[in-house]
Symmetry: C2
Subunit: 596 residues, 2 copies
Amino acid sequence: MALLDNIRTPDDVKKLTIEELPKLADEIRSRIISVVDKNGGHLASNLGAVDIIVALHYVFDFPKDKLLFDVGHQSYAHKIICGRNESFDSIRRKDGLSGFPNPNESDCDAFVAGHAGNSISASMGYCAARDLSGEDYFVINLVGDASFFNGENLEALSSTDKKPCKMITILNDNGMSISKNNNGLYKFISLCTTKKSYGRFMRFANKTVGRNFIGRALKRFKTFIKVGLNHTTAAEALGFKYVGIFDGHNIKELINVFNHVKNADKAVLLHVKTIKGKGVSEAEKDPSYYHGVGSHLKTGKSTFSSAVSETLDKFASKDDKITAICAGMKDGTGLTEFAIKYPSRFFDVGIAEEHAVTYAAGQAIGGLKPVVCIYSTFLQRSYDQIMHDVCIQKLPVIFMIDRAGAVGADGATHQGLFDISYLRTLPNMNVFAPKDVVELENIFEFCLSLDLPCAIRYPNGICPNFDTHVDINERLWEVDGDGDNVILAVGPRMLKLAYEVKEKSAKPVCVINARCVKPLYKSIFDSFEGKNIIVLEENVYAGGFGSSVIEYVNQSQINCSVICKAFPDEFISHSTVEEQLNYAGLNLDGIIKLIK
Amino acid sequence: MALLDNIRTPDDVKKLTIEELPKLADEIRSRIISVVDKNGGHLASNLGAVDIIVALHYVFDFPKDKLLFDVGHQSYAHKIICGRNESFDSIRRKDGLSGFPNPNESDCDAFVAGHAGNSISASMGYCAARDLSGEDYFVINLVGDASFFNGENLEALSSTDKKPCKMITILNDNGMSISKNNNGLYKFISLCTTKKSYGRFMRFANKTVGRNFIGRALKRFKTFIKVGLNHTTAAEALGFKYVGIFDGHNIKELINVFNHVKNADKAVLLHVKTIKGKGVSEAEKDPSYYHGVGSHLKTGKSTFSSAVSETLDKFASKDDKITAICAGMKDGTGLTEFAIKYPSRFFDVGIAEEHAVTYAAGQAIGGLKPVVCIYSTFLQRSYDQIMHDVCIQKLPVIFMIDRAGAVGADGATHQGLFDISYLRTLPNMNVFAPKDVVELENIFEFCLSLDLPCAIRYPNGICPNFDTHVDINERLWEVDGDGDNVILAVGPRMLKLAYEVKEKSAKPVCVINARCVKPLYKSIFDSFEGKNIIVLEENVYAGGFGSSVIEYVNQSQINCSVICKAFPDEFISHSTVEEQLNYAGLNLDGIIKLIK
């Protein structure tokens, strides 16, 4: 890997010839493929953005200029170029590189980018700061076509028609959302080709760069320009100069374009087409499956997600009021089969969690039984909709919350460590945490019968199977054993840990599966009198399940000690789930010590 | 008021002649003006929508058809027509009508509508339910031009190009956001007039309604049609038939149009122009001030909001890095003066709370000191942005949270009773609650020095002035008095109550101004040993400040009793603030009893 070996800073890219850059891009792609194979991560999206990133580094000066990603699963090539090639083997591992841009990791990472839709807002903020401070740099954001139409980006696009200069928004368009693209605004932009564009662009080219090399070069590519130039009206109303559509894998062309738009007298919306998964044939064929993969490319499916698929099928086959809604994550949330079997009752709204939840509320008030499947971390986007549209109206929407708890390698921006806090404090909400697949089904059936807002949370990874099961009827908890030490465990991993403690402890331990997180199973609390209660949960301590136990013990004046083991008041970086649980003291050694 | 006296159900509107309807509308306007004068409420927006609502009731059948508002501050006329004229005097009062649509109040209120931006999502949900259930009704949503461009509506518009039939979205365009409209997408829609529209519409009219009365009538109004028809391309890409622009105060014309679009073979986007505040000359002149008013039209300003104005001015005049950002509520959040004095540092992004927060994060990482001014209830929209963009990156954004605590007459959808729970559980966040205007300034200065995410929450209404002040330095709490009974009070109203208790109680009471909500002032807790701690806060108990006190007492094994008085786990309806505090037991009698 001769070329890549010499890339230690962004400046080193500029020392290569333009002709050498495609080779560098190929080397970077190989590097990404080999590391993702070992460490897991986002493959297809990272591969698709390599050529754009190489071209950007050839033209712009990072970190003086700012490069923002939307979302960050396109940023691996940037990390490699910005002094992190050697440490790239550590990506997503404990104390290693983050899988997403992280300003604490490098000053070349301009903004955090774990959740989609923040890059236009953040770029506009950077520009405001630059302009008010009298500084001079470019702010560039690379945004995927799925993220582009997230409500937050649309708010930023819409908020003013005065977009700042030296802001370049690159629409990285691979023609699909994470699964597919049926987006109305996207189609609008695609349709809205104006006949005048070609002429307008030529005048623009003549005026701004007419006599230099770039202008002349661009004019030579007449056909290319003719194809590329359109949508001017739409973009102009939003305050942009539109330039496109260009081939996002032609580095030489991209360099020409970047040099050209550097001189634009207003913000630029640059539209490029790429192939998701470029460079690895399997990922090109099935980019949705390869969007995010665990270590070793073939093992990306988690058992709870597939259990959701079976559970939904079982009940949907008997009840045609049941619908399923997801926000651009059909495969990740286990809805692939449902979408095929019940196409009229399946709705993928794209990366639009706010709309997903209110859409479900509308379906529910209209008489359906919608099931909203979203990861814990992304459901944060819908906090207000869950409260205002679902809970205030007491509507029977069931939230299937995947990746709840410690998420491992995806790290701080993706942790599912807050949902208990933000859901259990909402009036009318019911929150459940099944211990395994059988209980998931049982709880789901119970939620259908409740006719109220319900949330079912479960972690990623392989879930354990427990031998015995007690019906969730009346929200009771499952009690196993007796003793002055009582462990209240939330979710499969905590329950498994509780059983390990019970087995290893010299003192008798009562293990309780606290599968109904809200409301509490209050009638059991009298039996806690005089006992030592230990709460185990994968959530922050602040406002979590343990907090609700203490609140109730305090209110009801029950005399018992309560020790809560949960996550601390900080953001938890990437590492394995096990390492994260150890960090929080949620392991055998940590809990055994608490047994009195 | 002869006509209105006979309107007891929506059907009664249909018994009138078209010629009588303008008189009915005028009577409804008079009724609204007289009741808002007594009870407070949204005047200008309600007046502007009266004619549209009268025409809708003439053509459609509510509640069989569904009428959704966005936001609900346009719904008074609908309430009056739908059997609530007699009870209209009770609006916004205890046990009276809600100031917003409420399905629990009437089956004519199709969906809750306190926060902007949910109506297109909810309407699409209704349509999905209707179509899957084989039912047949119209779903109509009336959406203001400011709400129309909220990110959630944009997500819904964008999510699919297949919009359901018999869904009619009425864009009620009064040409301004709550303050003003500088919206990029709006300008785009306004610019994007296609020359072909007139011909197209005529073919459409010929084809679908050509030979009936409406078709012939419409064809008579050639000029009117010519003016009205455009934007077809944009709307069609989003899955709508666009019809507009019509005069939203010409009831006869509106009835023709409604009858016409009933026959459309796809979803309809109907664009009407109205005058906000129609019918009351002062409100027409200054609709922003009259947007929402307290009882008696002249007294709408609250003292904390105006204190914010003075505080920001004081520090912004010395530090040109300070900027202010609001989301369509310049006047309500006290930024009117700031906007005039520091136009280059003032940003009103429209009703786009998500964008507002990330925009601030971008400004902060770029070196500015942004201050985001949003009501507590609307900041819920930014929960994820506060966590992901501000707190993870530890950025120095200061949130000025207005209307925190009980809000009184605006009721359930507007309560500021959750912000402590959703903010104090976020890592890196600092939360403050000043007791009065002097302390607001002191805390604001302290926040500037922290260089961290900070939130300052304060209630609506007149705030008390306390005689003495202790500097917030090191986040200490203010301690007054001694005794085994210690009251921890959060915010001005709770602190005032604590002092009343201290004065009336036979036992000695120590009053503590717990103005730093997060992090806790931990070093004081040792002095609580053996004492009776009473926490008073305007927030739900679940996950609130009291919850954090109990969490800490439990962790640190301090031996003291803690009693939390806060709001219960339910949504609190409209009434006065005092009545709401009484309901929660946050009054003298309730607290005196707790003193041991």
